[in-house]
């Protein structure tokens, strides 16, 4: 089928009039005006809608988000901190063959990461052989010495992973970063789907999209297969979600997931450790807890072991964990593997443990602790993205091309003061996708965060959270930095990549 002109209704939307393409990969258009096969049906639908209809659909979607209370929190903002999460109405569509490769690549990566974590907290073979420098691991602020020699159920450290993928100009996917501590955003993925199914019911049905609604059940099943060595209820491990509380940016998600899974959401003060066993305080007395899906960072989990000033944690929790009386998911100390400087070694890590080439490549990364890398970076700061190694959520970053001379000077000083704490990457041209901006379809940069579950087996719900840099030209997709999200449709049929109109 060629890209023949599509008949346009006389009152049709002028949706694509202002759609601009640059050198970035465009998810929808192969060349200007010519959509890829799997986007044709979406384009037809859009062109068939009058501007007024489109506006109504957008309003209906916005109202749903408002009513569902889907919000997030921005730290360090002078205005109110709680915001409605901006959703973009147009789905991002991924054909079956592309997804198959992503799925394989993610499984490979998480398998290697878990082997790596097991190794550095036990024998340290990869360090002894000099493949990853020892100093890099021991100087990582998320390295937890306390985890040395401690066994975790199934040797799985990361049960819940959110990996950020970007599509580079040649159309291939690369990994931008792994989130191995407490990745968030999955509730937005589920909410986006719920809304899209409501506002585009026919289009959704006709496209043949893999469902994702079972994510909470898959998460619960994964958690339950991680039951501890000494489990109080072996066939029915008591599972709870531990939240830092209502002021956390992702509290909405904590409450939502717990409710979907049918488990209790608890705060630190709701739990108690006695004789190395963890109990939940209930109206009917104390009840043993076996598995904790914790959405609290390592530092705050146990004031006895980690930060003594933490009031979010449970005193003695780490010793109960060490004794094999409770499972924490994710395990403690996983942050050492998503340190952005350790990330640079991921290709070697995959080869070392699996003897395979990485299916999903890394983005080129310069280590500021390396003299040559650092000089190159400092000479080209205006072209680079600089990131603090232990940060996430778009905090502690410099985007060279969009920076002022003053900001570059600040980062130059920061890098020189603490080289180990920074990495740099060439500014990536993230792929673009059509978004509905003020009633018109415009192009915006996006990425993709699939969620990978690893327990007895690996489960990846098809798709993930597509994040959108809503400001024109912006490359920052983090919700904390003015990003939004859109639904992600992974197509079922490997043979039919063109959607309903293309059979």
């Amino acid at each position: 089928m060629t890209a023949a002109a599509i008949p346009i209704r006389s009152d049709a939307s002028l949706a694509f009039v202002n759609y601009q393409m640059d050198h970035a990969y465009d998810e929808m258009f192969a060349t200007a005006g010519v959509p890829r096969e799997h986007y044709r049906a979406l384009q037809q639908t859009l062109l068939g809608l009058a501007p007024e209809e489109l506006r109504k659909i957008q309003q209906a979607a916005d109202l749903t988000f408002l009513h569902e209370g889907i919000t997030f929190t921005v730290y360090g903002s002078k205005e109110g901190t709680e915001r409605i999460f901006p959703n973009d109405l147009l789905p991002r569509i991924i054909p079956a063959n592309e997804w198959a490769r992503i799925e394989k690549g993610l499984t490979q990566r998480l398998t290697a990461l878990n082997l790596f974590l097991r190794d550095i907290y036990h024998e340290g073979r990869i360090l002894a052989e000099g493949i990853v420098p020892r100093e890099l691991i021991y100087s990582c602020k998320h390295f937890r010495r306390e985890m040395r020699g401690l066994n975790v159920p199934r040797d799985i450290y990361v049960s819940i992973c959110g990996t950020d993928l970007v599509r580079v100009p040649d159309g291939s996917f690369a990994v931008l970063e792994d989130n191995l501590r407490v990745p968030s955003g999955v509730s937005y993925m589920l909410a986006n789907r719920k809304v899209l199914k409501r506002v585009f019911p026919t289009l959704f049905r006709d496209y043949g999209v893999w469902p994702i609604d079972h994510y909470p059940q898959a998460l619960l099943a994964t958690l339950r297969t991680m039951s501890p060595e000494n489990c109080a209820y072996r066939n029915d491990p008591k599972t709870v979600l531990l939240t830092p509380g209502v002021s956390n940016s992702a509290y909405f998600e904590h409450a939502f997931l717990a409710q979907q899974m049918g488990i209790e959401v608890v705060e630190g003060r709701d739990l108690l450790v006695h004789d190395n066993l963890v109990y939940m305080r209930t109206t009917a007395g104390l009840r043993r807890v076996d598995v904790i899906y914790r959405r609290v960072d390592d530092d705050f989990l146990d004031p006895l072991r980690f930060r003594p000033d933490s009031i979010l944690g449970v005193p003695g929790l780490f010793n109960a964990y060490r004794a094999g009386n409770v499972t924490l998911a994710n395990a403690i100390g996983t942050g050492v593997a998503d340190d952005k400087a350790v990330y640079a070694y991921l290709p070697q890590i995959i080869r070392y443990y699996l003897n395979e080439d990485p299916i999903l490549p890394n983005v080129p990364t310069f280590l500021m602790s390396d003299n040559t890398h650092r000089q190159h970076t400092l000479q080209n700061l205006e072209k680079m993205v600089v990131k603090a190694v232990g940060e996430s959520g778009g905090y502690g970053m410099l985007i060279g091309p969009q920076s002022t001379a003053k900001q570059r000077d600040e980062f130059r000083a920061l890098i020189l003061a603490d080289p180990r704490n920074y990495i740099a990457q060439p500014t990536l041209s993230l792929s673009c996708a059509p978004c509905l901006i003020d009633g018109e379809v415009e192009s915006r940069h996006i990425d993709l965060r699939p969620y990978i579950l690893m327990g007895e087996k690996v489960t990846i719900v098809p798709g993930g959270l597509t994040r959108v840099a809503l400001r024109l030209g912006s490359l920052v997709v983090n919700s904390s930095q003015g990003g939004g999200s859109k639904d992600t449709w992974v197509l079922r049929d490997a043979d039919r990549t063109g959607g309903p109109g293309a059979a």
């Binding site: 100087s139 306390e146 040395r148 450790v273 004789d275 006895l304 003695g316 010793n319 004794a323």
Partner: protein, 342 residues
């Protein structure tokens, strides 16, 4: 040489608190230099004491007291036999040998800055004052540092706090054993020599002119000097490790090895007192015949001999040097307990 050690720690709370959780690092290590023959830990109010070994190989005991209480008393009893043969003739290694061994082994933990032992501007000034750089033999240089800290710093209890950064002591040029240890660790690590913190006890012989007080816990450092292994330096008293040093726990700095660390629930004033008695003890006859550790049976650390041994302690306490320190928790060389409660 053998010692019996009694280490009593009392916390009093006003008003009563609940849900105390506590970790204790008081069991002397067993290694080439010393053997912990017996160890027992009693807790009042009664609690189940559990134990594990931390990532530095220290034995940790821990317990919790859920009900309301106004007092926690932790009593540790140990009998430790020191192996004199483990203090060999001083060994002078070379820098090359040291670097080779460090590169081959896993010493990074003790080379990198840690919470209480990190470089500061004031440390750099001291380093310059001492013209600290690699020269001569590593052992000579460290003995020089040990002596310099002893000479340039006054021993002054109650001038620094349990969580004081080394800058406080560096500025005032005085402090306690913990400060001297942290300063020395930071200096030695800058020379790319692995260095670690040791908590323990010093037996104060009658004629010893130690600055650190008896009746308290003590702290010093160990530096890794290649073939000589971990060599102990006590900058508080300008001593090398000796038969009088009984080591309990090692870590990167104090934060890794506080004798007690606890958390409780409640708003309360807490008062801490510590009493330590270190008494020479005649080793049981079967130990005296042989100083080499290799022939010794590997006794369990808590064994059925516990009670019998306790009576021996009582018998020898008469002629033991005995002193007590009952303080409010701000005793710098005494047991440092960290408490936080909410």
């Amino acid at each position: 040489m053998a010692y019996s050690i009694k280490h009593v720690t009392t916390f009093r709370y006003h008003p009563a608190v609940g849900e105390s959780v506590m970790e204790v690092r008081m069991q002397p290590r067993s290694d080439m230099r010393q053997r912990c023959i017996t160890f027992s830990l009693d807790v009042n109010p009664q609690a189940n004491v559990m134990t594990y070994r931390d990532f530095f190989g220290n034995a940790v005991h821990h317990f919790d007291i859920p009900g309301r209480h106004k007092l926690i008393e932790v009593t540790a009893h140990a009998i430790v036999d020191i192996n004199p043969a483990a203090w060999p003739a001083v060994h002078y290694g070379t820098w090359e040998d040291l670097d080779t061994r460090v590169a081959e082994g896993d010493y990074w933990e003790m080379l990198l800055p840690s919470q209480y032992a990190k470089p500061t501007d004031l440390l750099a000034e001291l380093s310059e004052e001492l013209k600290l750089e690699r020269r001569g033999a590593p052992l000579d240089l460290l003995m020089e540092v040990n002596r310099a800290l002893y000479d340039k710093f006054d021993y002054a209890p109650n001038t620094t706090k349990v969580d004081s950064p080394i800058d406080d002591a560096l500025r005032a040029r005085r402090g306690v054993c913990q400060d001297f240890a942290h300063i020395m660790i930071a200096l030695v690590r800058q020379l790319k020599i692995p260095c670690r913190y040791v908590s323990g006890y010093l037996f104060h012989a009658d004629k010893a002119k130690d600055r650190s007080p008896a009746g308290a816990t003590h702290a010093w450092v160990e530096a890794y000097l290649g073939e000589a292994g971990w060599v102990a330096f006590d900058p508080t008293n300008n001593l090398l490790g000796s038969e009088r040093h009984i080591h309990v726990a090692v870590g990167r700095d104090y934060a890794d090895v506080p004798p007690t660390r606890g958390v409780y629930k409640g708003e309360a004033e807490s008062e801490l007192s510590v009493r330590v008695v270190v008494a020479p003890q005649k080793p049981p006859a079967r130990w005296t015949s042989n100083n080499s550790s290799s022939n010794r049976p590997n006794l369990p650390q808590k064994n059925s001999m516990g009670e019998k041994v306790s009576s021996e302690i009582a018998a020898t306490q008469e002629d033991a040097q005995q002193s007590t320190a009952s303080r409010d928790g701000r005793d710098r060389c005494g047991l440092r307990a960290e408490c936080g409660g909410k």
